[in-house]
Amino acid sequence: MDVILFLVFAIIAVVCAINVVVQTHPISSAISLIGVMGSLAVLYLLLGAEFIAAAQVIVYAGAVMVLFIFVIMLLNAGEETRHGRSIMVQLLGVPLLIGLLGLLAYFVQRLFPRSDSVHFGGFTGGTALAIGRALFTTYLLQFEVTSILILIAIVGAIVLARKELD
């Protein structure tokens, strides 16, 4: 059951990720990226990270991608213009990329032999309670620093995108 769940959503994630790279229109890439993020949220649930899965859907697939799609529509971004690439690149690019991915998969499998296997419910420490406890005790300083970072980002975005007042 876990294996089927993993395979289905891993394949969806990889297909959507390939789609992000090969689509020429940015809005298609954005929709595919939402597919990647949604299937990753399911895999997080499988790994027992329920809080992070919820945050993934709300923050990434919700807020960040809405921002992306909003900017794409605001700028009226059209299809990417294809310019001449040499015949060598067109012929060798995709097989070399597939070779690289295969090599990568092979080495990861070599590095981590079947030491441990994931099954649903094997780790229950990812609840909002556990994460909140760690966030407000051990990692309190980092939490405060991220809030400052968000504040700086908000001010920076407003300063960059505002209309110049004469």
């Binding site: 992000v20 790279v21 921002l67 992306f68 296997s117 099954h119 970072l149």
Partner: protein, 102 residues
């Protein structure tokens, strides 16, 4: 009951990261390049969560949380920069945005 090997998750993470790098290098639209960066961040998050499962500790989740915060801040500022570039140059092609090259 047989579960999913840890290495499968790490392989998926590596594959997604490599696809993100490919998008970052090959694409010419600045927004798509930016989305490839988000894809890479997501891939790294997956390996954080996987190691957190293997070590049975919650620290990886905290790292993922921080990465998400940084990604949200980066998206806000980056898209504001893209808006400013488009206002000044009326293009999204990164080959034409090369004023700092020389």
């Amino acid at each position: 009951m047989t579960g999913v090997p840890i290495s499968w998750f790490l392989t998926l993470s590596a594959v997604l990261f490599a696809l993100g790098v490919a998008g970052f290098v090959f694409r010419r639209n600045i927004i798509t390049v930016f989305m490839s960066i988000e894809l890479m961040l997501n891939a790294v998050n997956l390996s954080f969560i996987t190691f957190s499962y293997q070590l049975k500790q919650v620290d990886g989740h905290i790292f993922t949380f921080v990465v998400m915060v940084v990604a949200a801040a980066e998206a806000a500022v980056g898209l504001a920069i893209i808006l400013t570039i488009f206002k000044n140059r009326a293009t999204l092609n990164i080959d034409q945005i090369d004023s700092m090259k020389n």
